[in-house]
């Protein structure tokens, strides 16, 4: 573990920096910056919303707040599966946009130092590559770093 020297700034952000939440999606392990993750919940009733993009599964009632929920499999163009009680929803808050991401299941939280992340240049580009910003190799496991920004951006008509 790296030793943080002389850093008196107890700002939340910097202690969460380089910390990632990893989760499973199909055969891959993806990692997302934990500073955007506010909570992880299990699957609950989703109300469909008419006339929105197909990857938006609908909205859920989270303690009185209405939050849209995205199916990551659909967004990444990966084969859809049925939801079950193990399916998790990661609630992320990116610049005051709160969205739930339906993923297969959550793995762990780890620190991935910046140096360990290399560029992602796949030979064949697939849909999900639009959201992947880097690759990290930790203990023989490859984790794909996904960008919260890219997942949420560009879905709306306004920039």
């Amino acid at each position: 573990m790296s030793y943080i020297e002389g850093n008196n700034n107890l700002d939340d952000e910097s202690t969460l920096k380089d910390r990632y939440l990893t989760f499973h999606l199909a055969d891959d392990i993806l990692a997302i910056e934990i500073r955007y993750v506010t909570e992880i919940i299990s699957m609950q009733a989703i109300t469909k919303v008419p006339k929105v993009a197909d990857f938006v599964e609908g909205v859920i009632n989270l303690r009185g707040k209405i939050i849209p929920v995205i199916n990551i499999r659909t967004k990444f163009n990966v084969e859809k599966i049925d939801f079950d009680y193990q399916t998790n929803i990661i609630i992320v808050n990116y610049k005051d946009t709160i969205v739930g991401l339906i993923i297969d299941d959550v793995d762990e939280v780890l620190t991935i130092p910046h140096e360990d992340i290399s560029d992602y240049n796949p030979e064949r580009k697939t849909e999900q590559d639009n959201y992947i910003t880097g690759v990290a190799k930790i203990n023989n496991d490859v984790k794909l770093i996904v960008s919260c920004k890219k997942i949420l951006d560009g879905d709306s008509k306004t920039v």
Partner: protein, 678 residues
Amino acid sequence: MDDFSSERDPLLDVFIFETNQLLEQLEDIMLEVEKDDTISEEHINEIFRIMHTIKGSASMMSYDSVAVVAHKIEDLFFKIRENKSVGSEFSNVCDVVFEGGDFIKGQMEKIQNGEEAAGTADSLIQRITDLLAKMSGTDEPPKNEIQLEDKPESAPKQEDYAPKAESGKNKFAITIFFDDECKMENVRAFSVVNSIEKYCSEILSKPKELFDNPTCNEVIQKEGFALFIATDLNQQKVEEIVKKQMCVKSVEVKEDDFTLHSKEADNDNNNKAKGVAESGKANTATSTKVASKQSLINVNVDKLDALMDFVGEIVITGSMLEHNPLIKGIELPVLHKNIDRLQKLTKELQDVVMSVRMVPIASVFHKMNRIVRDMSKELNKEVELSISGEETEVDKTVVDNLSDPLMHLVRNCMDHGLESAEDRIKAGKPAKGTVSLKAMNIGSNVIVTVSDDGRGLDKDKIIKKAIEKKLIASDETDISDKKIYSLILAPGFSTKEQVTKFSGRGVGMDVVKQNIESINGGISIDSEPGKGTITKIKIPLTLSIIEGMNVAVGDLSFILPITSIQESFRPKAKDIVTDPYGNEMILIRGKCCNVVRLHEKYGIDTEVKNLEEGILITVENNNKLVCLFVDRIIGDQQIVIKSLPKYLSDMLEEDCGIAGCTILGDGGIGFIINTNEL
């Protein structure tokens, strides 16, 4: 200034808030003073107190620029109090106080935004110093203006003055009749007053209000213009001066040791005694002013929002209790009785909390006074602002969002709408233009009207410009007047050839439209060439909680606001008409109404596809009626409106009609349909 931590010093918050309040009071006083063209001892003391307070707190917070300005104005008013008059520098004093107030306001804004309160008001301070010098130099009693009186705050404006029997050896009562065809008697009367003022130590006129009073001319025609003066001139001289004025038919000058003519005198004296004691309270007709001595408390808006949210949750939870089928089935009268009672109490709590956020619209209206005053000086147009319905209450967010649009609209009226004084007189209108602000409650909406009696909108010019900007096709001939007028709301639309300080870029109306739409309101414009223009803004009263009808379409629930529902029924096959394009319509009492199949519109799976098996609900759609086809009606309930997450609303089409969502009694989510957006 030291750089404090990013969390603002709460003391600073209080300082800013209090100073802003005081500045508002100051502006109100100054506007009244300017309007009356006189300043009472009460006013002087009040202004002195305000500046003194601001000086003190500004020094404490180390905002020297503010403290210096406040100190200077304090000096000025100390002098005025000493002199017991403002003398000939009345309008300069007013200007200087307004500017001082603006400067301090500007500094407050800077501080609030976290910027440095740099900047000094050097030129302003110099002017005040000069004014002070002038006032100290001349210690004679005022000649050019109506003398100070101890007018108590509670006195109505139309009252006669209490004369002071001081200098002015001779007292006369003058009755003047003007020529029959001379017209504009008030203007003639005013010039008489002007001509004789300088010789009088006291002067009283009847009718007192020459310009704001619409009946004034008739009164003068019938009863003559009466003047009561105290002067050193003799009777003959007085007669001469008056006769020199234009259109004077007859003059009668009598010696008259006048005292106040009405019972108002007695009331006045009584009020004076009370006035001292009551000077702390704001006793003006518009009692909505926040005087520092009333029992009020400032609350952070965030706390109010949190309170609203919680009350909303309680409403929902109560609803869940009430409507839960299992609970409904329990045969326990005491349970149901208490649930009922709980609901009743919750409703009352809700009403009170909603009203906490409601503020009278007066504050926004009064801000316009200042704008009218400033613009009227710059444009050299005499304008009066008439306000009515200011006690109408609206939610605080609405008030915040109304201020800018109203400002733009008022400026437009003054810049574009109202003609110059000469043009107005030529057109047979009074030289003074009128801008009116009205607010009223109609149903569940508040209607705010901004109107002027100016030249109206030029339809042809608008059409021409619209064609230029490709907003309409050049061959569209039968556009309704309403549509033409609403073209001016388009961004970048202006028929002005040149951009002035106030307008011409075509930006203002666009901002107005956007602001109004952000509070779910609507705007409509009407005009009559030569007569004036009226802009109507319709805003929903309650932002959060409405009574809605819950309907089912497939698996989804939709809420229709009760206020937009006309009727609901199950259609009969024979009433259904299909036109050649495939549009379905229904005959209701002989009239044809379009049918909108919600399941088709929203792409929902449902078994109920046959019109006769579902329910048709007739709703208002922009002044038309439309029938929505749903599976069934679930029931009506009170719902808390929650806005759709922006993430989703950005994805939806503009005409989908989904304006918000809500949490239903069973914890599920329903979508609220705005029938005007379908």
